[in-house]
Symmetry: C2
């Protein structure tokens, strides 16, 4: 229904009501503020007098979030419209980094706002690109805060991917719409219910990961922070050398948990509810694991040939680094930097693969490639038999034409955004490799790019401010599967 502005003012029921959106965002901001108590406690324990930073940040953030929620509370209804759901999704990932950045501004990092925002966005989108160096010397509170941002971002995105995106029909995610949660009622109550189930699983994985790290000799703090950034496939590390500090057995643990975090969390819920076999029967799980193993073995063999590496070392390094990039975690091990330009540039393409839908991973994702290749086969057969009727199947069910064109659009959006972002970055003065790999690593939330500046041995600190804003935008777009943001760019979106 279209109304004139006068009619709209006369009838407020038809105006876009942002209060339910503001209410949820306010609550989440307050939760983020409450989470700042943890780094405060670590700072108190460390005794470097850094804890007031988190006390101030927490008070301000809880207060601001609470005020927003209270101010909007009179407009809260059960359920959200499609329009409100879109605004909420993007709004959360814009609001939380704004507040999450505060400790980096006030704290020992003494960051300018652009850097602090970049770091917080990189955290909450589980990207893991960092602008800080000398990580070893930072107060423990700040390091824990970086881990917490990624951990919260990880659980947040699983809920969004399972509840919101299928509902919003974004990028082919509607294919997962009827799975498991179809009868759970309206979108907000369902989100709460799923979030609590998923949170237990996510927390369980994190604790298991931390215990394994602990068992292999990491101290309690490193084990905790790296568990937070492993299970969220975030990739922030406590050391400038990234995961290179923990060469050896911890790399196997990290690989295992990165892989577990890249699988669809809906399957874990089903397994807990007594369905024991759905994990391997899920075709995206199979394709993901098989693809991963083929690339790992190929690179491991290449490493034994190029270097005099023994089989175990070659396998471990290949497993760890390929898993890290393909799941979009973005840790790198010490030796990886010496693999030479050939192997490293392969990682540009591996980063564009991604994990399973409904996990913490980002990028194009396995199920989209499955549907893309199915649709490629269909196109080729159609060329030969223009009047033939062909059906694409996924998980043995016929896939709607609409889902296919939605997936193809996603791919198009991804590539065009990648191109435009790379052009924009190069217009700020970055060279070709930095622009292109920076755009790709931001959009696919991997973390490291290519080249001397932002490569695995580099750091994003030296980029110009415009580039940092552009990359922050890229991380946001990529994390929300692009269309959840782009949908708001059409005029018709804002009509009643």
């Amino acid at each position: 229904m279209r109304l004139t502005p006068a009619e709209r003012r006369a009838n407020p029921a038809h105006m876009l009501d942002l209060r339910p959106v503001g209410y949820v965002i306010g609550l989440l901001v307050a939760v983020l503020g409450a989470a700042m108590v943890l780094p405060m406690m670590i700072d108190i324990a460390e005794g470097r007098a850094h804890w007031p930073v988190f006390l101030q940040s927490a008070l301000f953030t809880v207060l601001a979030g609470g005020l927003i929620a209270v101010a909007c509370s009179n407009g809260v209804k059960e359920g959200l419209t499609i329009q409100q759901t879109f605004i909420l999704t993007t709004g959360v990932w814009v609001a939380l980094p704004l507040f999450g950045a505060i400790p980096f501004v006030l704290g020992a990092t003494e960051a300018r706002f652009v850097d602090a925002f970049f770091e917080a966005m990189s955290g909450l989108t589980t990207t893991g690109s960092t602008v800080f160096t000398g990580l070893e010397t930072l107060p423990k509170g700040l390091l824990l805060w970086r881990g917490i941002l990624q951990w919260l971002g990880g659980i947040g995105i699983i809920v969004v991917a399972m509840v919101f995106l299928p509902e919003l029909r974004v990028g082919g995610m509607q294919i997962f719409k009827s799975e498991a949660f179809d009868t759970m009622g309206k979108i907000l109550p369902r989100a709460t219910q799923i979030a609590s189930q998923i949170s237990s699983i996510y927390l369980g994985l994190t604790m298991a990961c931390a215990l394994c790290y602990l068992a292999l000799g990491l101290d309690a703090f490193d084990a905790t922070v790296h568990a937070l950034t492993t299970v969220s496939t975030g990739g922030f590390a406590n050391y400038d050398a990234s995961f290179g500090t923990f060469s050896g057995p911890p790399e196997y643990v990290a690989s295992l948990f990165m892989i577990l975090a890249a699988l669809p969390f809906v399957r874990y819920v089903q397994m807990i509810n007594g369905h024991t076999e759905p994990l391997w029967r899920d075709s995206q799980v199979r394709v993901f694991l098989i693809t991963l193993m083929i690339i790992v073995l190929a690179i491991a063999i290449a490493l034994t040939q190029i270097f005099p590496k023994d089989a175990e070392t070659a396998f471990r390094e290949a497993l760890f680094n390929v898993t890290s990039i393909m799941t979009g975690t973005g840790y790198s091990s010490a030796d990886y930097m010496q693999w030479g330009p050939l192997l490293i540039s392969l990682f540009f393409f591996i980063g564009l693969i991604g994990g399973c839908a409904g996990s913490t991973t980002c990028s194009i994702k396995i199920f989209r490639y499955q549907l893309l290749f199915a649709s490629i086969r269909l196109q080729l057969r159609k060329i030969r038999s223009p009047n033939g009727v062909f059906i694409v199947r996924y998980e043995k069910r016929a896939v709607d034409e609409e889902v296919l064109s939605s997936v193809m659009s996603f791919f198009m959006f991804f590539v065009l955004t990648l191109g435009l972002l790379a052009v924009a970055l190069s217009l700020t003065g970055l060279d070709f490799i930095t622009s292109l790999s920076g755009a790709a690593t931001a959009l696919s939330n991997v973390g490291p790019g290519l080249g001397d500046e932002i490569g695995p041995a580099g750091n994003f600190a030296g980029l110009n401010d415009t580039a940092k804003w552009l990359l922050s935008l890229g991380m946001l777009l990529g994390r929300l599967e692009l269309l959840a943001v782009y949908a708001m760019l059409t005029l018709s979106f804002w009509r009643d």
Copy 2:
């Protein structure tokens, strides 16, 4: 209808009959051989005793082509099946480079076959990447032969794009199916008829271009060869410095004719037949010219800011180089190399735009971007109104869903092929920039890549043989809009 192998042998009418395909290929090979008489004559005139190379090549090629045609002549019928048309299209662009390469092997270039084939493929696909240096010192016959290969490739592709591809429903080209030539009967007679009309126009443009070059001081030989490679948007030049040799007014002439060659040739046919206004009313022409002008002006302004260049120089350089890359010609002017990495890396993306359908240009092409953006708008509106019915229009007519998904598939094929080709090239040992830009420049038939090795100042001679074969394959795939080749990769293609 599927038959068992035994049934198929028993009933030869159901076997794939390659004789009509062989007949046409044989004739075209013979024509190519006949065309070698021209460089022979130039070689005789130059008096460097190089002419026997072309005499031998011509005799061998005409004889081989003639024998193929004669051997297949008993199977010729009026018209081809879809299957035969596919095989013919790819077959022509594989067979002609094989024979076109002969003079480079026998002649003063003394090329190994891989280099000679690369150069001939680069010619016939109008790519313009070269493996030869010291062009100034080569016999004139060889330089003319490079020009002739591109010129023939150019006219060839116009005919294919106007007649074959719409019929084969490749990459959304079916949108041009009903245009102008719908009632002309079966595919081979129609091809002959269109080819003769287009040839006059193409020849006219070439002669006009040559006369303009001549008037601006180029000698008759340079004017002729560069006219051949301008109008075909091929980009081979007679000098290692490419078009840098002719700085100044000739750049305007080249720009004008590159632009004319990038417009849809069907419009010229219509204009000759008395329709005076269709050129500007064609929306892809408008979008192409407007896009070109915006980029030219932006870069011209940038050049006046970055360098102390006067307005005319900046405009001329921007116009010439942007037009050269966007039309996929691939000439470069002397100053372009000094523009710095920032501007040059923009050219990577400009090369992915392309010209109009039914011209000599390659790459993704303007009409596909128009349809992609229309389909993007549609997707965004569908997200907001899932049950809404939206119609994409092109040239005021509703576009079939099938055309849209065909265009999206083309884009997908293009990007995935680009990625795979880049990975394959980097596996042969090329660095990231060379692999990626080499794959892009081959697929979009532009010519120069980026970086020190294959950039505008570089040359493809130093690449390893595998890379040269891969790039030749890339040129072939790109020139035939990928799907015309890929269609043959499905099993069902080969069934009766």
